[in-house]
Amino acid sequence: MTAPLIELSHVSKTFGAAGGFSRRRVRAVSDVGFALPADVAEILTIVGRSGSGKTTLARMILGMESPTAGEIRLLGKDVAQMHGARDRKAFIATVQPIFQNPFEAFNPLRRLDEYLFLTARRFGGAADRRQAQAGADAALRQVGLSLAEVAGRYPHELSGGQLQRTAIARALLARPKLLVADEPVSMVDASLRMSIVNLFMTLRDELAISIIYITHDLATAYHISNRIIILREGRVVESGDARTVLVRPQHPYSRQLKEAVLVPRFPGPSSSESESPA
């Protein structure tokens, strides 16, 4: 039986408030546990409000913070023990991030293609510039762009949707098994949002990449997730199959979340539901 792709057991994170004399401690994450299998690609959504601990959880999975208690294991190896350069490199080759703000994900003063080429050289197996360019082009095509559109461009020349897709292409160049996407579409225009959300589904179905999708938007979560975890103040209140949980939430907090979602009411029951886009 192979080790799961990623496994969290009893993970907690407590931040001490600033100042040596203060004894106030903030429990950002308390006793969270879940696992993603290594043989089947899945999209796991973590839903919660701001301050629910979901971003802290994401940072711990990405190795940017270490848990105060509990363990995070990537393919069987404890993430907190990965210190050496080789371990770090292996880690980065397995887990890649997608950040919330596409305009901040790249240095505004540098060209976008440099990040792509660098990732291709360091992780994608490209030996020289030509191979790096070919690799970058292939990755960009997978996300619906092309190198011609992105080459030589600075971040401000592209829209939020294009930037986020470039960020995904860069992550793909490292050939990861897991993507951790922290609110990837909340800063992207509504009209462009669905193409990126659908892209995540394509990555799961065609490239067998698992995705941990962190969001506060229940509707997109419904659309693409296999499983869902609902966080409240750092604790898991409900988890399970995404569609089941979202259509019939059990926990009162989950119900409260669902009822707070503002949905346009369409007069006429089924006509709008099955309405196809113009």
Partner: protein, 349 residues
């Protein structure tokens, strides 16, 4: 799913009052003109926008990035600074009939208007509340600057107002950073409405808040609008918020309006291809049909496409769309569209 019915209150009374126009915007054009080291750039952020906001109504303005809606608010509310200039058109408020726009009002006129006739609810609530003083002091500053009158009477008025908004009175003793984001926003709304202004502009009031708090804040805004009978110009990219709040709704794209209608009608029968696509792409819990995003990118307002701004991304684009810019034409009662491909709006389709 539960939600309060927003639109079936005293229709008759509202229709009577709504006949009056609180804000009239006619062909407003506002550009950013910059000049750095000999390079001149002109960004046509708002390029010919006309609409009316009636009394006692919530008018929603929807748009994404580079639609120009933020610039529109700045131009209308006289919150402009160079390099933003009004290049043409007018924005006239009912309470200041002489001026073509608020930018022409004198400083003393503006001081008299702010918070009493026109007030704002902004996204960053911290910019209204002084972070180093208690909330009580922010209210007191208001009294001295905008209301005059004696302190005791004002204190009573503050408490009454807070009660009306269902806010606990001990929020006055807190510092802004001690309150949660939602609480701060509610205090900001209280401040903005204490003088019972005729017109309120809300710019992304709940974008930084999470879903549960957002609903409470929106309920509060709606209650107070109904109670004061004022007009509210609500600007946000979130269509769900518009569906919940707005009586009428306009959609902006590329610096121009593309469609405007009463909210239920806009959602049930959108006419413009952009609106249609936007609404159809919204995912919903319980609906398994696939959703498709819009291809292409928002237009670059420094070098906008010729003719209709939407034509590069429009599935119905024709020759005329590439050459001419469509104008808003009424296709039904209280429903305007700017598109050549819509029957009755100047097109043949």
């Amino acid at each position: 799913m539960e939600s309060r019915a927003p639109l079936d209150c005293d229709r008759a009374a509202r229709t009577r009052q709504q006949a009056e126009v609180a804000l009239c915007v006619e062909d407003l054009k506002a550009y950013y003109r910059t000049r750095h080291f000999g390079v001149e750039r002109e960004v046509k952020a708002v390029d010919g926008v006309s609409f009316e906001v009636r009394c006692n109504e919530i008018y929603g303005l929807a748009g994404e990035s580079s639609s120009g809606k933020s610039t529109l608010i700045k131009a209308v509310a006289a919150a402009m600074r160079p390099p933003l200039e009004i290049v043409g058109g007018r924005a006239t408020f009912r309470f200041l009939p002489g001026a073509r726009s608020l930018n022409q009002a004198t400083a003393s006129q503006l001081a008299a208007i702010r918070w009493r006739k026109l007030s704002y609810i902004m996204q960053g609530s911290m910019s209204v509340l002084n972070p180093v003083r208690r909330v009580r002091c922010s209210f007191a500053d208001f009294a001295s600057r905008h209301l005059g009158g004696n302190k005791a009477a004002f204190q009573v008025r503050v408490r009454q107002h807070l009660e009306l908004l269902k806010l606990d009175a001990d929020v006055l003793d807190a510092y802004p950073h001690e309150l949660s984001g939602g609480m701060r926003q509610r205090v900001t709304i209280a401040l903005a409405t204490i003088c019972r202004p005729d017109f309120v502009i809300a710019d992304e009031p709940t974008t930084a808040l999470d879903v549960i708090v957002q609903k409470d804040v929106l309920d509060m805004v709606r209650d107070i609008q109904g109670e004061m009978g004022s007009s509210l110009l609500l600007v946000t990219h979130d269509l769900g918020v518009h569906a919940y709040m707005a009586h009428r709704l306009a959609v902006m794209y590329g610096g121009r309006l593309v469609e405007e209608a009463r909210t239920p009608e806009l959602f049930s029968s959108p006419q413009h291809p952009y609106t249609k696509h936007l609404i159809a792409s919204l995912p919903r819990i319980g609906v398994d049909a696939p959703r498709i995003g819009l291809a292409g990118s928002p237009p670059n307002l420094a070098a906008p496409p010729s003719g209709c701004r939407f034509h590069p991304r429009c599935p119905l684009a024709g020759d005329r769309c590439r050459r001419e810019m469509p104008t808003m034409i009424a296709v039904a009662a209280d429903h305007r569209v700017a598109c050549f491909a819509v029957a009755g709006a100047g097109g043949t389709a």
